[in-house]
Symmetry: C2
Subunit: 282 residues, 2 copies
């Protein structure tokens, strides 16, 4: 019928008017989770501008090109937004990805939210991301924000966040809890070296339930590449003595087989009557 990629395609591209096909704006937002003082926390910022001025929301912003007119990849844009608020981008002004990598921050795409009316200005879809971070320094407010804090997620969910960011946060929690079951990402909440007890604490904090120590240890050690021993011992943690713990580093494995399953997940087996949460995109 036609040669593909012919020279008339070049002519077509030269005459193309991109303005006719951009009725929708794109933002990139990020739900960054960390554990502080035994509580699961999310990074929130207070909006300095309209709309929703003064309200809290997840860090993010419009997807825009750099000075040369080239666009970043979506996860890079998300990392840049996170770096902007956590002050980790100081040594990498372009985008904080490298700085975040050295901090072993995990970033993945969560989903795209495009419910009509979620933004009062115009039709805006948000490509939401999810980050797991070890305990980072206190955040600093970025240029478009009045403040930035790590807030426990249960408090954040009770807040009235701007846009549909409460939905995004709820989806992020669902995803985070599920990911701990079948990946090794729990280590992303910890510093480079940690003890098995601290790793168990990550699961208990994120899932909000106690685990049995022997079973947990057995599963961790039965998964090759989950953790590998480091040549150090943890100095005592309490004030009244106690055996010192072996320290470990994250191994090369990324998938847990078999998974470490939470009680909540196991109980879904019997819960056939109530429909589980649908995909949270609106």
């Amino acid at each position: 019928m036609d040669t593909q990629h012919g020279s008339d395609e070049a002519a077509f591209l030269a005459a193309y008017d991109s303005r006719a096909y951009t009725p929708t704006a794109v933002t990139v937002d990020i739900a960054a989770l960390t554990i502080r003082a035994g509580r699961l926390c999310v990074l929130l910022v207070q909006r300095a501008n309209h709309p929703f001025r003064g309200m809290w929301c997840l860090p993010g912003g419009f997807l825009v090109p750099d000075e040369q007119g080239s666009f970043p990849a979506l996860d890079v844009a998300a990392a840049a937004r996170l770096a902007l608020e956590t002050g980790l981008a100081l040594d990498d002004a372009a985008h904080g990805t490298a700085a975040l990598r050295t901090q072993r921050v995990h970033i993945e795409q969560l989903g795209t939210f495009g419910a009509p009316g979620r933004d009062p200005r115009m039709h805006v879809i948000s490509v939401a991301h999810l980050a797991f971070a070890p305990d980072l320094p206190d955040p600093v407010a970025g240029p478009d924000t009045l403040a930035a804090v790590w807030l426990p997620v249960d408090e954040a969910l009770a807040f009235d966040l701007a846009f549909d960011h409460t939905d995004i946060l709820a989806a992020a929690l669902d995803r985070a809890r599920a990911k701990l079951e079948y990946t090794t990402l729990a280590t992303a909440f910890l510093p480079a070296e940690f003890t098995i007890a601290e790793l168990q604490g990550v699961y208990e904090t994120v899932w909000g339930e106690r685990l049995v120590t022997p079973g947990f240890r057995r599963k961790v050690h039965a998964t090759p590449g989950f953790v590998e021993p480091a040549n150090e011992m943890r100095p005592r943690r309490g004030d009244k003595g106690g055996r010192r713990a072996q320290m470990y580093r994250a191994g090369a494995a990324t998938l847990l087989m078999p998974p470490i399953i939470s009680d909540e997940t196991r109980q879904r087996a019997g819960a056939t009557t109530d429909e589980p949460r649908q995909d949270p995109r609106a």
Copy 2:
């Protein structure tokens, strides 16, 4: 600092220039999977227009408002694109969602692909969707396509699809295989009534591996709400006799606990050296 949602927010919105924040276009694409003649197939269309004219790709198109200027939700837009190519929208011209629902087609968001340069016209991000469908009638080419076919996925992956649709298709296959493990979505590939052997066939087709019948049946029946018996028997399938099979309908459960795990997944446990596929967003 300021009352939130004050009247000056209304003034701000009135003066807002939306053109300044829309440098990126949004498309919605859909990887629709079905099983035909024992093979996993994907719906492909041949492009009628530039760019990539004459090449094959997944159904999709720009996210645009309707005549009243209101935008559809993302999954509704994806369903409409699927209906446009499969001819299922005939009784629902606005968007084929209702027609697809009666056909029990499952649609979920797969992920958003935004690698720089993935579209030669301008910066375009694609919100990719995944659909599971029972054996549908042959597709009919839509207004912007020269042809539409159900193609076996192994052949489709060998094709040079337009844009980055080969990446999207690969991600769709990964997701589909994983979803069969822990959800009841295998039934979405079958008509309303089916036998256990046919259900097992769905798993074997999608995973490309044989399962042991007694173990499979036990797992299916051990999961409450996975299938429920229908009051019919399947007429004989072969030509030389044989016991007639009990027929079943999909039950109310959506999550499989414990999951039905493929050999491939189980073998990932020992494969600690090779990094598994990263998240496929570019």
